[in-house]
């Protein structure tokens, strides 16, 4: 077996090194990078766009082109994440946590370099792992039934404990809310429409992209507008030396890279666990295992960037496993790849490991080479990227916001995406300001759906017997340990359960407790609305909802009735320990401003977003872009026309060519288009 495999692997490499195939691979890589850098625009639309061109290619070339694109979008993703705190894709939200503080410190070069290098190492490692494991994986994966997949998801959710940092109760509420949001839409068991308010948009649940962009991108941009500054205030650092340092970091922490790549490939191979949580799982793992991580992560520790980025590039290798072995797409991009399989007459399954082994290995090589090529290209242009962080906010915001809108719209190409973006933007900003951790919400949102689905199949099929399957027992034990250990530590640090339930004082209600009340009201309403549903449709929402209510009420009581000075009776050592554990989220750097001013400026910021949407509804997105750019730059900061006009024209042209002409995004209907249909053929997007 060994020799035969090596032979096929070698043969596949020779085939792939053909100049035409390399050329196509590079084409894919360049497109992947560009799409990756644009916030929210993932590889999905790009892959769908390229699919027809592969019909006439041979399979090696076709997969080189498609995989070149699919594997490098996550190499481009960290660039906006580090530079603006805007994740370039759902998979790099965790990169923001340490990447942005590094950029603020003037270490953008180092962070970028560490991101590329770990992306590359992770990607190559993921491909390698897949190459080695392929022959044995098929029987193993067939053994993994719904109960095992359920246990995998539960293990993922247990990471909430770590990702909640020093606010476990708030983390649990956020995670439960995420799970509840995941259950919006058609219930898979009974077809009941859950919390859809008669909107067709909500039938399939809230799409992930607008949620991630809203939760993580808008709050950073809003704070930038509130602080009225640039991301990095000082520019005294040297980009080149930072680049060196970043690459060196990856080699110093090679063991972390390896572990996180393993996490990325393993979870990437589980269908239903998408890129949006893999980075958080790796990040949580690093927090738990790296020395001193609990103190320095989230404050610009390069290991945080390395952990997230090596995992999300390793994912694609893992996602290829179920695709090739069973035809079960491991990710959305892989679903399109399956389409290419059919077109080329390839059947996923044992044939791919025998008759078509060389094609399979050419795919592995494509992923590996694409990762190396992608990282190389990024290095080439990085000097320019690193400078972006020093620009004034009025120069950056209009461009980034315009593209975020289109990115969110790509979620399901409907107006609902824009409302989701705005809603989760306000929610995310509020959570950030009040120090509620946002990562657990994403974790709950992605994994909640999977857990419910697999839970039903497991129970329906096996009754309670599924709990005795060995892999399930192992994984669930790990999950429970992972969930309880930080909680127990936390309780111990507070002086045991007795201390937690005593020491209550007079109630004192502060304005920020309103958010607790808001959460209780929303979750309470959701539970109430669920009461009428059929049993199978309401059981999980009711359990999760009740737990969430309990956590939220406990949290509120804790903050209202416990006098702040209660903690001062703790031993000094314990106090230090508590304040040492990090808040698992970014800190706002707007602390020097008064609350009133912050609220006013934030309202102005979100007002601009609402204005953008109104204008888009009236005259279409493309005509709105130049108006928005000019309006924002002139009104917010009186930027000189010689800066305003080129940016307005440039951005509009860019959006027109890339999104209207190349990606053929179907723009929503506009008021103007309905009144004067003739304009539709003249002005794009009307």
């Amino acid at each position: 077996m060994g020799l035969e495999m090596l032979d096929a692997a070698g043969h596949a490499l020779v085939l792939l090194l053909d100049p035409y195939r390399l050329m196509m691979l590079s084409c894919g890589v360049v497109m992947g990078l560009v799409l990756g850098i644009l916030p929210g625009i993932g590889g999905l639309s790009g892959t769908a766009l390229l699919l027809p061109f592969t019909f006439t290619m041979d399979p090696y070339t076709a997969f080189a082109l498609l995989l070149g694109l699919a594997s490098t979008t996550s190499t481009g993703d960290p660039i906006p994440a580090i530079m603006f705190g805007v994740p370039g894709g759902a998979g790099s939200a965790a990169t923001v946590l340490d990447g942005l503080p590094m950029a603020r410190r003037g270490e953008a070069g180092r962070a970028l370099s560490a991101a590329y290098m770990s992306s590359m190492m992770g990607g190559v490692f993921g491909a390698f792992l897949m190459a080695v494991c392929l022959p044995i994986l098929r029987p193993v994966m067939l053994y993994l039934g719904s109960p095992e997949l359920l246990a995998f998801s539960a293990l993922g959710i247990s990471m909430v404990a770590v990702l909640s940092g020093n606010t476990p109760l708030r983390g649990l509420v956020a995670a439960s809310l995420g799970i509840l949001i995941a259950m919006i839409g058609t219930d898979p068991q009974t077809g009941t429409l859950r919390w859809t308010f008669d909107f067709l948009y909500l039938w399939d649940g809230v799409p992930l992209v607008p949620v991630v962009l809203g939760l993580f991108a808008l709050p950073e941009l809003c704070d930038l507008a509130v602080a009225r500054s640039s991301i990095a205030a000082d520019t005294k650092y040297n980009a080149t030396s930072g680049m060196w340092q970043g690459a060196k970091d990856c080699f110093i922490h090679w063991w972390l890279v390896l572990r996180c790549s393993w996490i990325g490939s393993a979870f990437g191979a589980v269908p239903g666990i998408g890129g949006a949580v893999i980075d958080w799982l790796a990040y949580g793992h690093a927090v738990r295992t790296e020395k001193g991580a609990a103190q320095s992560f989230g404050k610009g520790d390069v290991r945080g960037v390395i952990a997230a980025e090596s995992a999300n590039n390793a994912r694609e290798g893992g996602a290829l496993v179920p695709t090739v072995a069973f035809g079960v797409p491991g990710s959305a991009g892989m679903a399109i790849l399956l389409g290419a399989f059919l077109i080329h007459g390839l059947v996923p399954g044992p044939e791919m490991l025998s008759k078509h082994l060389d094609i399979t290995y050419s795919m592995v090589w494509s992923i590996a080479l694409a990762n190396i090529l992608g990282a190389g290209l990024c290095y080439l242009f990085s000097g320019q990227f690193a400078r972006l962080a020093t620009l004034r906010y009025t120069l950056i915001l209009p461009c980034v916001l315009g593209i975020i809108y289109i990115g969110a719209f790509e979620g399901s190409r409907s107006w609902g995406d824009l409302f989701s973006l705005l809603f989760f933007g306000v929610l995310g900003w509020t959570m950030k300001q009040l120090r509620w951790p946002r990562p657990p919400l994403i974790l709950g949102l992605v994994l909640g759906d999977t857990v419910e689905r697999y839970l039903f199949i497991s129970v329906e099929r096996y009754g309670a017997d599924w709990l005795t399957r060995p892999i399930v027992v192992g994984l669930l034990a790990l999950a429970i340990y992972g969930l309880l250990r930080p909680l127990i530590q936390d309780i111990k640090a507070h002086g045991g359960v007795a201390r937690l339930v005593t020491g209550f004082g007079r109630p004192h209600f502060r304005a920020k407790n309103l958010f607790h009340v808001f959460m209780i009201a929303v979750i309470g309403w959701m539970v109430f609305a669920a009461l009428d549903w059929p049993t199978n449709a309401k059981i999980v929402p009711l359990i999760v909802g009740s737990l969430a209510l309990a956590f939220a009420i406990l949290g509120l009581a804790n903050e209202m009735f416990r006098p702040p000075e209660a903690e001062s009776t703790l031993a000094d050592g314990t106090k230090a320990q508590i304040s040492d554990t990090i808040h698992m989220d970014l800190e706002s750097d707007t602390g020097h401003l008064s609350t009133g001013l912050i609220l006013w400026r934030a309202a102005v910021f979100f007002g601009w977003l609402v204005g953008f949407m109104i204008s888009m509804a009236c005259i279409g997105l493309i005509p709105t872009v130049p108006i928005f750019v000019i309006g924002y730059m002139r009104l917010e900061a009186r930027e000189p026309w010689k800066l305003v006009l080129p940016q307005a024209v440039g951005l509009t042209l860019f959006i027109y060519v890339v999104f209207d002409q190349l990606l053929n995004i179907p723009w929503p209907q506009t008021l103007l288009g309905m009144l004067v249909p003739a304009l539709k053929t003249i002005v794009p997007s009307v």
Binding site: P19, Y20, M23, C27, L44, T47, A48, L51, P52, F53, F55, M141, L142, Y143, L144, G145, S146, T186, P188, Q189, T190, G191, T192, L193, L200, Y201, W203, D204, P271, G272, P322, F326, G327, V328, A332, A335, I336, L337, L338, G339, L342, I343, H344, G345, V347, G349, P350, E351, S412, R413, S414, R453, I457, E460, R461, Q661, L662, N664, P666, P677
Partner: protein, 331 residues
């Protein structure tokens, strides 16, 4: 020498590729009458499925035939409601067309209480495109050797034998409900999220039975992980003519499959519908197109508009009875 050869070859191919991308994006501007601008072919499902593949295969050939770019737009969501509604609401000028499937036009209208479109009043048929038979399949290690074995066991344990499908309200579910009505049996429905996960579970032994597309079970047929007991259509499948039909196996009436068809918004000028029908029927007869559909487990089915219309009416009526009798509820 070699390098020179390689370079010129690369350049030639590069230019060809770039030109193709450019031509595809800008589109031909030479046509004077219909089509005057790019045609949008709306597939109400995500990329990768049969509706998407049908759209892309036919779309590419239509581009060549009409001299205008045919753009495939995936508008997935809400059981196809979003995509179909987008078509029914667009201008009936032949520039927006729908890739309809069995589910959109024959099942949804009888399954859901509120349907945002009326197939008869909002859409005009052009032609059928493809037909993908589904099969009743079993895990390789299960004791079921024939359909009769399954029926016998199901009669002994009504409502207890798990039956996998790609989702609630799918044609696959209707197939086994139909089978149950005719034979007096009932199965325990286990809906998955799509055909591929359902097949993997069937192959792994998570569920003993399933009604699935041939393309979904295909990866597991060779090594015997999954065995096909019967096809759900009235005629045997060209994919493997040894498989019996359900009707031959003693299940009365069942004739159900997953087909795709080309439709347009109501009010589209008859001459445009006519032209499209002729072009697409010609395309469906092309050997390379037939081959590509066959690779996906589908056959091409060129028809007249009237034939498509009749089939929709016939199937809608049949499914209405099944949904009512089997008491299938979707909100």
């Amino acid at each position: 020498m070699i390098r020179h050869w390689a370079r010129s070859w690369v350049t030639a191919r590069t230019w060809a590729f770039l030109f193709a991308v450019l031509a595809a994006s800008v589109g031909g501007a030479q046509a004077q009458s219909y089509p005057t601008r790019p045609i949008h072919l709306i597939a109400p499902y995500a990329p990768g499925g049969i509706a998407d593949i049908a759209a892309r295969l036919v779309g590419q050939k239509l581009t060549e035939a009409l001299g205008q770019q045919v753009v495939v737009e995936n508008r997935p969501g809400a059981n196809g409601f979003i995509g179909v509604t987008a078509v029914t609401r667009s201008a009936p000028d032949g520039h927006t067309l729908l890739i309809a499937t069995t589910g959109d036009v024959t099942i949804n209208p009888v399954l859901f209480k509120k349907v945002p479109y009326d197939v008869d009043a909002d859409l005009v048929p052009i032609t059928m495109l493809s037909d993908t038979p589904t099969v009743l399949a079993t895990n390789g290690a299960s004791p079921y050797k024939t359909v009769a074995d399954v029926i016998k066991d199901a009669k002994a344990k009504p409502g207890e034998i798990p039956m996998a499908s790609p989702g609630i309200g799918s044609i696959n579910q209707l197939a086994f409900e139909w089978m149950g009505l005719g034979t007096g049996t009932k199965f325990l429905h286990v809906p998955y999220k799509g055909g591929a996960p359902a097949s993997t579970s069937l192959a792994g032994g998570d569920v003993p039975l399933g009604v699935l597309a041939i393309s979904s079970v295909n990866p597991f047929l060779q090594n015997g992980r999954i065995r096909v007991l019967a096809v759900t259509t009235a005629k045997r499948s060209s994919f493997n003519s040894e498989w019996p039909t359900l009707q031959e196996s003693g299940v009365p009436d069942v004739d159900i499959s997953n087909w795709t068809a080309l439709m347009a918004p109501k009010g589209t000028p008859p001459e445009i519908v006519d032209r499209l029908q002729k072009e697409v029927v010609r395309i469906l007869a092309m050997p390379d197109i037939k081959e590509r559909f066959a690779a996906g487990g589908a056959v091409t089915v060129p028809t007249t508009a009237a034939e498509l219309s009749a089939r929709i009416k016939r199937e809608t009526a049949a499914f209405k009875t099944i949904v009512e009798k089997a008491n299938i509820h979707v909100d």
